[in-house]
Amino acid sequence: MHNLFNNVITSYQYIVFGYTTAIVIFYFILVYLAKKEVFKYNNTHNKVDDKLLEGSPFTPGISIIAPAYNEEKTIILNVNSMLTVDYPIFEVVIVNDGSTDRTLELMIEEFDLVETPFAYIEKIRTKPFKRILKSTNPKYSRLTVVDKENGGTKSDASNAGINAAAYPYFICTDVDCILSEEALSRMIQPILQSSTKVIAVGATMRMANNCEVTDEGRMNKVKLPKTLLPMFQEIEYLRSYMVGKMGWSAINAMPNISGGLGLFDKSVVIAAGGYDPLSHAEDMDITARIIAYMRDFNKDYKIVHIPFTCCWTEGPPTLKIFNRQRTRWARGLLQFFIVHRKFLFNRKYGRMGMISFPFVLIFEFLAPIIEAIGLISILLLAITGNINWDTFFLMLGYAYIFGLCLSLCAIFFDLKTKIIYHDYRDYFKMALIILIEPIVYHPLIVFFSLKGYINFLTSKKFEWGQMTRQGFDRNTKIKNIEIQNA
């Protein structure tokens, strides 16, 4: 019995080692691919290109769609931010998803909104919409507000926004996100520059915590968050975007476009049925569905990610809100693999089916489970006095140093794209913070992920939950100050 126990534990340790080494190899490949893409992008994109879109008759229109549910604290600032994007042809569609606070009233007051006749065509089914509001002030002629019954998820509200959108492309973002001025012009370029149809474009997102925002909703100074949780999340996002997504983009195998910022071809999204209102991972879900649609009809496509930072979002500042966010993501991930299990290892779905989704399943979904079992086995070995501490620390160091290297690589790629922080020392701060991230932050991710999986499997009734907004730091003396170029 004792031998069997030891054999099981030893085998499991070899599995964990093999698993870790497989992650290292895959990420090594992703880093190589990401490096090529990041440097290629940086070498061929500049402000001259952004200016070409102004006044060009070939520039397509883009709708910015942002669902809003109980966002009274930041709604005005965020809508203003979206309205000041620097792009010649765009509109902003805010979907008031049955807010119970003063979100709609504040918008009506601020933007001179009135209920207006609008032939709303329900191309994608949603919860009933009540009315459309437009502004009587020409300054806000680009703004459309869709007022509808609460659909329970962001997906339903996004679909209503798509129904009301006028332009052939749309950016789906969260209403708490601050878009950069160049967001639209940067994100549309991969679509215009490709001879293959680009059906979606992603870009880098960062934390808005501690950043300075002007009264007009423009990002004035980008700073690293002051508190640990959003700081860790910033680093995690950079790893995900700069290494993960850039690498996947290089081989046209993007597993998902972030729900906080994604530019989509509207006709393809509608043809694919829009966002799934029951999904808690609507970003991954819609990406899978539009790929499936294109593959089912044998149409060539690309999904691209650009390394440029186009958006800032408020990161969860407290553990309670972070818990809510991560358990929801974990539930969504498990739900996704159950609903879309037909894609996995299915050659019909190309690289999505054979590479990126299996990768996400094995190395992202299973990772918390494998880590938790590994931790239990280590504890058992330690209690029974069978642990080889030298080997243990070596393996821990192996995983730890790899994580550090990967994080620093992501920071390096970000630096090469644009010096984004107002104070360069923030880069050194990040280089220090990544030393404690695996010890402090990573266990939280594992814990909340497992909690999310258990919640889903025990079928508790879920609501989207509310992000408690802190609001952004605003220096009220600042008006229209240009971003300091480093």
Binding site: Y14, F17, T21, V24, N43, T44, N46, V48, L52, L53, S56, P57, F58, T59, P60, G61, I89, E91, V114, T116, P117, F118, A119, I121, K134, S135, T136, S141, R142, A166, Y167, Q189, I191, L192, Q193, S194, S195, T391, L394, M395, G397, Y398, I401, F402, L404, C405, L408, C409, I411, F412, L415, K416, I419, Y424, Y427, F428, A431, A486
Partner: protein
């Protein structure tokens, strides 16, 4: 010292032989730890070096700005045409001997002045570029530097309005293996050369023509005086690339080359729906009424996207005899988005068309159909069926 090296190498070999005696798993882990630790310090070093380079560049930029900005403003915005000696007297001594990095930064300062002040003195700019030898500098960048610098040099040459002494400099880039550089050079070729600037239109520009290529080509054409704009119809029939044909058609509309309209109409029978749509859109915008009869005849046989374009074109022609066609199209439309398009066309068509819409609204029992008419009349909606 020898003892130290002996002890160090002894220690190294002890560690080495210890490690190679271990199981494979341990060897892999140790190698990876060493590689990743080195990688960590390499990346950290890079971040530090980047900071130092940025600081150095900022100092250099600030110094150049303080030295030259005011004087460059004085020269470029002066009404007086200055000769070389006068410019040399205004500028600091040794201003001709700048490094490559300084030349790039100085060019940026000049470009910023040109962009802020479109009415700059073009003669003084030429003399200024000659003084700093920037023309030669950017020619060398185009010829001898790496891909990234060449790519940026094309923009700089355009922005500085440098006229190249010989097209061979840009010609070489137009056959580059790098697709992005090749296309950029071919677009810039239009503006940079006077001998056969539209050579690449005859060669179908490139293997693929994207929307971005259309944007850059249009931008280059805008830089030319109207007298140098070619007749685009010469390429409509010869080009094998439908995207390029669509581009030429658009330019025919933009430059109002009415004599080319029959050649555009001849492409209505194409199998390429995008091209067909462009034919209809262009002739509609140009109000080429000779196409109206064909459009109306073909309307029932066309897919929805072409039908919508035909509606918009007929609305532009404003031929009272076409009102009945528009009315029938409205009544028979089965697609709500098309109905909105047709309603808008009627709304902007004539008084009689408006009366038809109102009458339809009163008689219509379906609320949504009534709403369509309210929608297109709504002045707050500025992008109907954009």
């Amino acid at each position: 010292m020898n003892d130290f090296y002996y002890e160090l190498s002894k220690h190294f070999y002890n560690v080495y032989f210890f490690i190679i005696a271990q199981p494979l798993v341990i060897k892999i882990a140790v190698c990876c730890v060493i590689i990743f630790t080195l990688g960590y310090f390499v990346f950290l070093g890079n971040i530090l070096v980047t900071k130092l380079l940025i600081d150095k560049r900022k100092i250099r930029e600030k110094k150049l700005f303080e030295q030259y900005n005011d004087k460059l403003h004085e020269i470029l915005l002066s009404d007086k045409i200055m000769i070389l000696e006068e410019i040399e007297n205004v500028l600091p001594k040794n201003s001709r001997k700048l490094s490559k990095k300084d030349n790039r930064l100085l060019s940026k300062i000049i470009i910023d002045i040109l962009e802020e002040n479109p009415q700059f003195n073009t003669k003084n700019l030429e003399v200024l570029l000659a003084h700093f030898n920037l023309k030669k500098f950017w020619e060398n960048e185009l010829e001898y530097s790496d891909f990234q610098k060449k790519y940026k040099a094309i923009d700089r040459v355009n922005q500085l309005k440098v006229s190249l002494p010989s097209e061979s400099i840009i010609s070489r880039l137009t056959y580059s293996k790098n697709k992005l550089l090749r296309k950029k050079a071919r677009a810039a070729y239009i503006h940079m050369t006077s001998n056969d600037p539209f050579r690449f239109f005859t060669e179908d520009f490139d293997k693929e023509v994207t929307d971005w290529d259309k944007i850059t080509l249009h931008e280059m054409l805008l830089k030319l005086p109207k007298s140098k704009i070619p007749n685009f119809s010469q390429w409509i029939n010869t080009s094998k690339n439908n995207a390029l044909k669509a581009f030429y058609m658009y330019e025919i509309y933009f430059y109002n080359q009415r004599a080319a309209c029959p050649f555009v109409l001849a492409h209505f029978e194409t199998n390429d729906l995008e091209l067909r749509k462009t034919v209809v859109d262009v002739l509609g915008k140009m109000k080429y009424k000779q196409a109206e009869k064909k459009f109306i005849e073909e309307f029932p046989n066309q897919p929805l996207v072409i039908q919508n374009s035909i509606i918009k074109a007929v609305a532009r022609f404003k031929n009272p005899e076409s009102l009945e066609f528009l009315k029938q199209a409205f009544l028979n439309a089965y697609n709500n988005e098309s109905k909105i398009t047709i309603a808008k066309a009627l709304y902007n068509f004539s008084k009689e068309a408006n009366e038809f819409l109102e009458e339809n609204k009163v008689n219509e029992k379906d609320y949504f159909q009534k709403l369509i008419i309210e929608h297109i009349k709504n002045p707050l909606i500025v992008n109907h069926n954009a």
